[in-house]
Symmetry: C2
Subunit: 521 residues, 2 copies
């Protein structure tokens, strides 16, 4: 299906994608400029976040690219199976909790547990997800000038050659960006029906689960587990490490962690830390999980729904086999800060090069590869970055934890809300958009925040927040904290807050900035 000379509106794209997904369109969707005689500067293998942003950047720089994806749309797993459904699920969890906690009060009717359904939310997502896909196909072609071939898997033949739908394309460089998938743990029974990961959940779930066990303690475990519980499915998390204290999450402040995890427990979730799954039991379908708990005892948790939250592993094998690219012990492709692999002319980006498997990294990897390919030496260091997850809160952090700061700096002060020693139920603060109803009906749940400051340089070195509406601020806080000279408490005091601001950092800093010798607040 050659779409090069067509200018579809998003509604038409949506129809095409729908038809490709049902198999009605089984040919490649081809948007290639046959009249452009230039060599491709790069072929992007995989049109997810990294591939699409890398392609856009390379085009903007005046280069020529071709992006290939097996799916009939650009954007990759994020809008199809990962970040976007997760956000819909997390918002549903928050609203479900609100509906439950205010049952019979104000305009809320009595909450009807029979109406709480994770399947219904998943079906809503499934029925509408192609809208965002359609937008990205439209934007990539009409606004970004990209060339692409969709609905067809790419096979890399050598470091300059990719085959798709029987045709070979050549390029100066390859950019590999085919992502990662769930690392399936070696637990007997893991292949039983009723065992899902984030991807199969949205593709395949066709019943309403009644009881869930999650294996693993990753972000996905916290996020999806919080949703399952809110959707009326009692959920147990079985995790080797304490939640949010896994190797893949850095800079998690302990007070923040405790606020989040105790909040999950108080919502009725069972959280087993230091525990290991021994077996998934079943009779043609999962019926439970046998767990060795922290004390060493075996215990069987019944479940008609088992969910894997064990983290992801890069899909690198095809490129190892064909190109011989170097990978590390977890199958991630090894790259230098220019995103160059061990094979000259071959770049790798996104989840394929390992953690953090986050959107900013994927997209900026693509940008970094594009710049280097277009002759601009450019290095991307993602050792420091802001991070977040959802429980039924937005949990966001950047910089150092209080403990890390105390190790690194001689004199550290902390600005915290509610203040240390004050019972959470004593104050409805912090609150702002998204937590007002909570603050006025259940103040202990309004949120938590902490700002960590080196008292000598007066620089903000860490910020931590649990609540709503603060997440976006952390993109800018990350920039400000890590810029040369950093961000001082005095500069914070000068900012113009938009009250009620979800994170109260500006005004709380102002309450202390007058001090020559800073003290805690």
């Amino acid at each position: 299906m050659d779409v090069r000379d067509r200018s579809f509106r998003t509604g038409e794209w949506r129809t095409i994608i729908d038809r490709a997904e049902t198999g009605e369109i089984d040919e490649p969707i081809v948007n290639v400029d046959r009249e452009d005689r230039r060599e491709f500067d790069a072929i992007f293998v995989g049109g997810g976040a990294g591939g699409r942003f890398g392609s856009a950047y390379l085009r903007a720089r005046g280069g020529r690219q071709l992006t290939i994806d097996r799916w009939p749309f650009l954007g990759g797993s994020c809008p199809h199976q990962a970040c976007v459904p997760h956000h819909l699920f997390s918002e549903s969890a928050r609203e479900l909790d609100l509906a439950r906690s205010l049952s019979g009060r104000l305009w809320f009717g009595e909450f009807d547990e029979k109406r709480a359904s994770m399947l219904a939310v998943i079906e809503l997502f499934r029925s509408e997800r192609n809208r965002a896909h359609a937008f990205m196909n439209w934007q990539s072609k009409e606004q970004l000038g990209m060339e692409y071939i969709l609905n067809a898997p790419a096979t890399v033949r050598d470091e300059h050659t990719v085959e798709v739908a029987g045709q070979r394309f050549h390029a100066r460089n390859l950019v590999l960006g085919t992502g990662a998938r769930t690392e399936v743990p070696e637990v007997p029974g893991v292949d039983l029906p009723g065992v899902f990961d984030f991807a199969s959940l949205v593709e395949e779930l066709d019943y309403e689960p009644n009881r869930c066990v999650i294996i693993g303690g990753s972000k996905v475990a916290v996020e999806y587990g919080s949703f399952f519980q809110a959707a009326g499915c009692p959920t147990t998390i079985v995790s080797r490490s304490p939640l949010m204290r896994t190797a893949s999450l850095h800079h998690v402040d302990e007070d923040m962690r405790q606020f989040v995890v105790s909040g999950m427990r108080s919502r009725g979730m069972t959280i087993l830390e230091g525990a290991e799954p021994v077996e998934i039991t079943g009779n043609g379908r999962a019926t439970g999980v046998v767990v060795r708990t922290a004390g060493g005892a075996l215990h069987t948790f019944p479940a008609d729904f088992v969910f894997l939250g064990t983290g992801e592993r890069a899909c690198s094998q095809p490129f190892v086999d064909t190109l011989g690219v170097e990978v590390d012990g977890r199958a991630s492709i090894v790259v230098n800060p220019r995103m160059q692999t061990s094979v000259p002319g071959v770049y790798a980006i996104g989840d394929l090069i390992g953690p953090p498997m986050e959107m900013f990294k994927a997209r900026k990897c693509g940008m970094a590869a594009a710049r280097n390919i277009m002759g601009e030496p450019y290095e991307f260091d993602f050792s420091e970055y802001p991070d977040f997850l959802h429980s039924t809160y937005e949990v966001t952090w950047v910089g150092l934890t209080e403990a890390e700061a105390r190790e690194r700096y001689e004199r550290v002060i902390v600005i915290q809300m509610p203040p240390p020693g004050m019972g959470l139920d004593e104050t409805p603060l912090p609150c702002a958009e998204g937590s007002m109803l909570t603050a006025f009906t259940n103040p202990a749940a309004s949120g938590f925040q902490k700002c960590v400051i080196d008292a000598v340089s007066r620089r903000v070195v860490g910020a931590h927040h649990v609540g709503f509406g603060a997440k976006t601020a952390f993109q800018y806080l990350d920039h400000l904290i890590h810029r040369p000279g950093g961000l001082t408490i005095d500069q914070m005091a000068e900012m113009n807050e938009l009250f009620l601001n979800s994170e109260h950092f500006v005004q709380l800093c102002r309450l202390r900035a007058g001090q020559l010798d800073l003290t805690d607040l």
Copy 2:
């Protein structure tokens, strides 16, 4: 009641405030250090936002202050009658709309219009507002070391002397911060029962209104009107100027404005622009408003609830009478950038010096006065600042509108979502936390955003957003845009976004930053 040597917990403070409000405690609440023989550097007349932050800053600088308020708590009108209830009302409006729009879908039961009650939300606020007051009394004493006298009006005797509860206090300086109140329009019938402003609404409303007319087109009119409508009270706004195009709001982008106002209309609100109220009719209580519409015709709108959204006027008269401070034509006290009035040693801050009547300005005025009083020359320029309001969205903006930028710069590009020319219902973007359910059930309502860039300097010169969760970002965007050198599209492209970020500025900028010659997106 001398509280100097007592260290109350917030719960005890709450009881004291409750008892003061019922009149059971009718004496002043006195927290004065009788053993400190130092002169007061300043007496803050009014313990609202400006007075409290100014006091805290002066204390932090090592000075001695006394803060006096007629109410039994610090914090002023914001947590008692203004910003805080408004945020609770706006969140209620958003949740009411969601409950209505998803009535009978997912876990939402059929929406019962009989349960929609503005009175219930106001009563919830009224019953719980003292929690925040208690926190501020606690914090100001225990954490900030302030001295204060509450529950007693202050009378200024001269530029160094304030009398409270029969006792005179002297100070090197006075800082006046007694705020503003609604400017009552000269319309016959405005004194009738059933006519409210934001303050009397939370104090006095004791019935469930069935039909509302709002006189005036201020922020308060937009915000409270959106709540009234959501709470089941059909609302008509009568405004001389087009909504959001009043003199007190600067930098309102026209596309953003249209998205907001058309959204209000599509929710069923009646908005009369270019219209003037002629009379509030009544028979011992308001029954309607006679309006001269834009065409000149007279029309009577029935109403059992009339709300004044006509803006506010400074409470300056006592200080004119006693001190002779200079005021402008709207009764605002005239100050220089150091917050000094025409009377030496007398400062004025906050709403008392006129618009913008916003929290950041009040608090920073207090800080500015404190610094100057403590011998540090310091000027506060609030001519540029980020701004926001609520419809049932969070509407936030900073810097220039597209039109202003095109007047000032030769070549301007705009990055907008949904893109110009695309029907709102074509795409569920932008979306993020707070708009996921909307994006998947009513994409046209997911939001609007625009980033305005000077294509020559590559600097971001304006940012505009309608949606949820982006407001807090604008504090930092304001700082970044207005810092020396500003914020370029290239710096935005380097930031680490936290996907799904409510405002998509970072990644949308990255899609264009590769261009040497920037174009619209």
